[in-house]
Symmetry: C2
Subunit: 212 residues, 2 copies
DNA sequence: CCATAAAATTATACTCAGTATACTATTTAC
DNA sequence: GTAAATAGTATACTGAGTATAATTTTATGG
């Protein structure tokens, strides 16, 4: 025990990364559904079982950073000014996302290809939807916690659902804009414009609640 | 050929219905993931292949009425007064849903059990999410068609996403209310209250578009 | 009513994701 | 250097879904 950066830990991380890298490359190249886990294992020079040791489901080989958005959300709320309305905090967070060109607000050929690969695979699309729902649940808890509620209530769930839906639509339209105009700047504007419109509506939905 | 209500067609329909019925019963009883397609086939006294002939995916055995909401949507828009804002049409549709106690606004022990079975199965939950997204796409086309656009635009997609999200949240809260209070009437009120709040916000989001 | 075409159903064999488990090799701790 | 812990492997299984050929059932024209 007690080994942080020990050989074992480093090897594990290297193995995991190697598998994930080789898998992502294969998936982007040939499509998720046209590459079997056995092929990934072979390409990574590891047994099939080892792949499943690190990645319980095949989809996890492609979506390997689910934690990040979760962390960012909590960090954003941890730093927020006392008394600020949770929805206002979220609005600021979205702008900082766009400013720092976070993956959730990034429009490049690489992100376009990534999401095209997702769209072309039923399994990856399903996993993306699942992650969306998990984000809603998470956001609902964070919102409730921000106003000192122990549990998410109906208002928190409505707010969270609406914000995540807005993000999804805004991001999708940003990607569409990127495809049409090939400009990261106008894509970003599209994204932010839709988010602003959405927030104004969400504020109305929540006007008699502590969230807005 | 040329046989509408012929023996063959009736037998097919009977077979399909028998499979679906026996499957639904087994799933509600023992959980979707604890019943294999082979068991369904055996219980329905039919071969495994026949099950897959009628229902391409196992999930289709449980969700057997996807078309309905689609039809209802189009019917509602077909009958709408000329010049009415599409969002207003939708708002009326939701109220008529609640009045006619349509499955989408029905809160009983049976619907509760149905959705509990869904929630307990990852595969069924995934399919439910997929259907939600398909409904969004469908609604976006219907909205665009209502204002004589050939293709759904960004506003239509935002509107559709928001309305479907509202429905999902409102229905989920209605079910929660049913579980807590066991009253179809208060569940219905909860459902409608959330829909009304949502529509007021959605109207703001779409205020400079032809949809609101 | 019979022969035959068409369509429903079945048998069989396959691929692939995911799980369980026992076994081997490597690293760590003492 | 040895023993315990753990990373990795081999093997065998279940269950969904697909492809295909064989077989049964129904429809139809004479």
């Amino acid at each position: 025990m007690s080994n942080q950066g020990g050989l074992r830990e480093r090897k594990k991380e290297a193995t995991r990364q190697a598998i994930s890298d080789v898998a992502t490359e294969l998936f982007l190249e040939r499509g998720f559904d046209n590459v079997s886990v056995a092929e990934v294992a072979e390409a990574a020079e590891v047994s099939r079982m080892t792949v499943f040791n690190y990645f319980p489901r095949k989809e996890d080989l492609f979506f390997d950073r689910e934690e990040e958005s979760r962390q960012m959300l909590r960090a954003g709320f941890a730093e927020r000014p006392a008394g600020e309305a949770p929805i206002a905090t979220l609005r600021k967070l979205v702008h900082s996302l766009a400013d720092r060109v976070h993956p959730f607000a990034k429009f490049t050929d690489a992100t376009a290809k990534f999401w095209r690969t997702v769209a072309e695979s039923p399994a990856l699309s399903a996993r993306a939807r699942e992650m969306r729902d998990e984000l809603v649940d998470d956001l609902a808890s964070v919102l409730a916690a921000a106003i000192k509620r122990p549990l998410a209530d109906a208002d928190a769930r409505l707010a969270a659902s609406m914000v995540v839906t807005a993000l999804t639509v805004a991001y999708a339209e940003g990607l569409r804009e990127h495809k049409a105009r090939r400009s990261a700047a106008t894509s970003r504007e599209t994204f932010l414009r839709i988010m602003e419109r959405s927030f104004s509506g969400i504020a109305i939905m929540l006007k008699d609640t502590p969230y807005a």
